[in-house]
Subunit: 403 residues, 2 copies
């Protein structure tokens, strides 16, 4: 039989070639700069084993039974407290719902607010997983270009003015995926004022801000929120580990109530054991010490190795970001470069990167002369070898005017 | 600021009083027939601790890292194999996606197929969690009354004929929630033929069929599927434990591909450790023995205690189902009875039940003279005392013509 899927889902069909670029290469000889995974060397496995083993002995069976839609109450409180005390993020008007990763926080927010045909203003390029959630609601994406200071706010304002159906502004203000760039404090304030002026919501996606290797921490946009228009998505994937799927949304209480209804419809609640594992780790272990000692130094070494490698090997005329944190560096090719062709050549030479085409807000083919490079998964040595390889391939392409 | 939620979500607002009936009573003196939880005495906690402890030692970090959208490959294969060998359910055209509980299987299917304004034909009364997923897509619910043999197929056909926008027929053919009743083999076949005649999809929700305490197993509707119109939702919540949130959808390959896109947008993948725990439990432990020895006898005793208690105490004129399995018995009150008022009186006498109003497909108030009784959570002694209490309250109400 012919099965017609809901029409709004047509935007979900990513070309197979682009999806393939994200896959972990099967060939162990391939160096991968393509992933977005945190490194297994940063996972607090010993603590997790100890905590999980203990919690699974609970005579009341707590981690085994159905839990609450909104999440494990002590974890919600611990999250609210930590984000308030440490990041001034979230106030008395706000509430927290535990989600199955920050992806689900984005997805629930998309479902709560987006009518079919509504618009979402995104940084261009941005996180493809968020695009999927917006597109699954039948929303249209509008991209304001990323500059070194975050989203280009003149372009953003023009889009807001021209498109009254844009309901949501989606940003990753800190160590953005895929650029690695952060919005300055002034830009954060200006974006918030823009959202006020045009009366739109901001979805602040913040999975990376604790992965800072240099520079000074910046306040979240949510910390500037006066009228409940900022919805904040947080994650434990990069500061503990992603396989457990634990994240959260923080927003005004009435919004969290609506997200809770949707959460019940979606998966009832998030895995109960791992909500409790995160709670125990946050409250009984040295969570901040884990980030400062086990994660940040390991990633700083890798970021530095990549920055040095790119400086040594890339031909002139090829720019790249110099992020203070996160997992990614974006390499910007000369205008007109065919980044898909270059990514294919690199792949044949056993280096995997993600071409800019993957991050376009527009699903139609078009220019995106960029390559995303991940430095959390490869070893420093792989990073050095990969950068040399990139230098060779891009140098040859430049010499042959292949751009 | 005023935050307008998407209009399609207006159907999610359940009256607070009705939601409260589902909550676990805080007062420990209250006997609860209101839950729908499996009993902690059935959880294979020792095996889970052993397996989880072992898997968390994985030197490759597998359970900690991001997994595949479609689920852990060996679990998908083990599920496909078990359901094919044991239940003749799923064929070479079909595929399996692991979901965060069967709730998410229902939700992904709803999102894949339902346009705003589409209809879903449900058994009336039926599972409120599924209603939520359909309503969250802006679908309208149509209820065909439940008879002793499952959905009334004449009513179903009339609804299909009159409502061309019904795209999906949602049924729990075995030990239905809340009635406990099952569709006969003839009814299953007839429903499948009806779906073929009107070219509609069937969503077969099957969380309870392994909880059989008497009678002969019946084939799934999916096992009769010739043209890929039956989508099957399965769960490990009632045969292992629900807190982990592991279930699955089984459907034609092209449908599972679409569900996989939505899964990526929703929560990326299901908790990786517990997918592997279920896989190990299915393949290395005596899963069928666990069901046969640890679950079925415990629940059979409770079902029998409730049937004996109701037979002994309920006044004449009050009917109740006599299910061969599952978790629920439905008590049907005389027409015109105010089941909400009776549930309130019972609650004041320290017995919690769920009134029929909770299970209406129509969100507007209307007649639903039923009380759902759960027998998996209370002890046999609590069941006996609860039935005596029901007898008192319903007898008094009947005597005073309160119905």
């Amino acid at each position: 039989m012919h099965l017609p899927f809901a029409a709004r889902l047509s935007g979900l069909d990513t070309p197979l070639e682009i999806r393939r670029f994200f896959e972990v290469p099967a060939d162990p000889e391939v160096i991968s700069f393509a992933g977005g995974n945190p490194s297994p060397i940063t996972f607090p496995a010993e603590a997790v084993r100890e905590i999980a083993g203990r919690l699974l002995l609970d005579p009341a069976g707590g981690p085994y039974q159905y839990g609450r839609w909104q999440g494990y109450q002590p974890l919600r409180q611990a999250v609210a407290l930590r984000w308030q005390e440490k990041f001034s993020t979230g106030g008395p008007e706000d509430d927290v719902i535990i989600t199955s990763g920050a992806q689900q926080a984005i997805d629930l927010i998309a479902r709560a607010f987006l009518e079919e045909g509504d618009g979402v203003l995104c940084e261009e390029p941005s996180f493809t997983g968020a695009y999927l959630s917006f597109r699954a609601c039948g929303a249209k994406l509008f991209g304001a270009p990323m500059g070194p200071d975050g989203m280009d706010l003149d372009a953003a304002e023009a889009l807001l003015r021209q498109n009254p159906r844009i309901r949501l502004i989606y940003v990753i203000p800190t160590f953005q995926n895929p650029t690695g760039e952060s919005m300055s404090l002034a830009s954060r304030r200006a974006l918030y004022q823009l959202a006020q002026k045009y009366d739109r919501l901001i979805l602040e996606d913040d999975p990376y801000s604790e992965l800072r290797y240099s520079g000074t921490p910046l306040p979240s946009i949510k910390s500037m929120d006066e009228d409940g228009r900022v919805l904040y998505a947080g994650s434990f994937s990069k500061v503990m580990f992603p396989g457990m799927r634990v994240g959260f949304a923080m927003a005004r209480r009435d919004i969290v109530e609506k997200l809770t209804q949707l959460k019940q419809a979606t998966d009832v609640h998030t895995n109960e054991l791992f909500q409790r594992v995160v709670h125990t780790y946050l409250t009984e272990y040295d969570f901040d010490g884990h980030i400062a000692q086990d994660i940040v130094p390991a990633y700083r070494v890798r970021r530095d190795a990549m920055l040095v490698g790119l400086a040594s090997h890339l031909p002139k005329g090829i720019r790249y970001s110099r992020p203070d944190g996160g997992l990614f560096i974006l390499c910007t090719l000369p205008a007109g470069a065919d980044e898909l062709a270059l990514a294919r050549v690199l792949r044949n030479k056993k280096l995997a990167v993600v071409p800019g085409a993957a991050f376009r807000t527009d699903t139609r083919p078009g220019p995106a002369p960029m390559l995303r490079l991940n430095f959390s998964m490869p070893s420093p040595d792989e990073i050095r070898r990969g950068c040399a390889l990139m230098g060779d391939v891009l140098g040859t392409a430049l010499a042959r005017s292949l751009f």
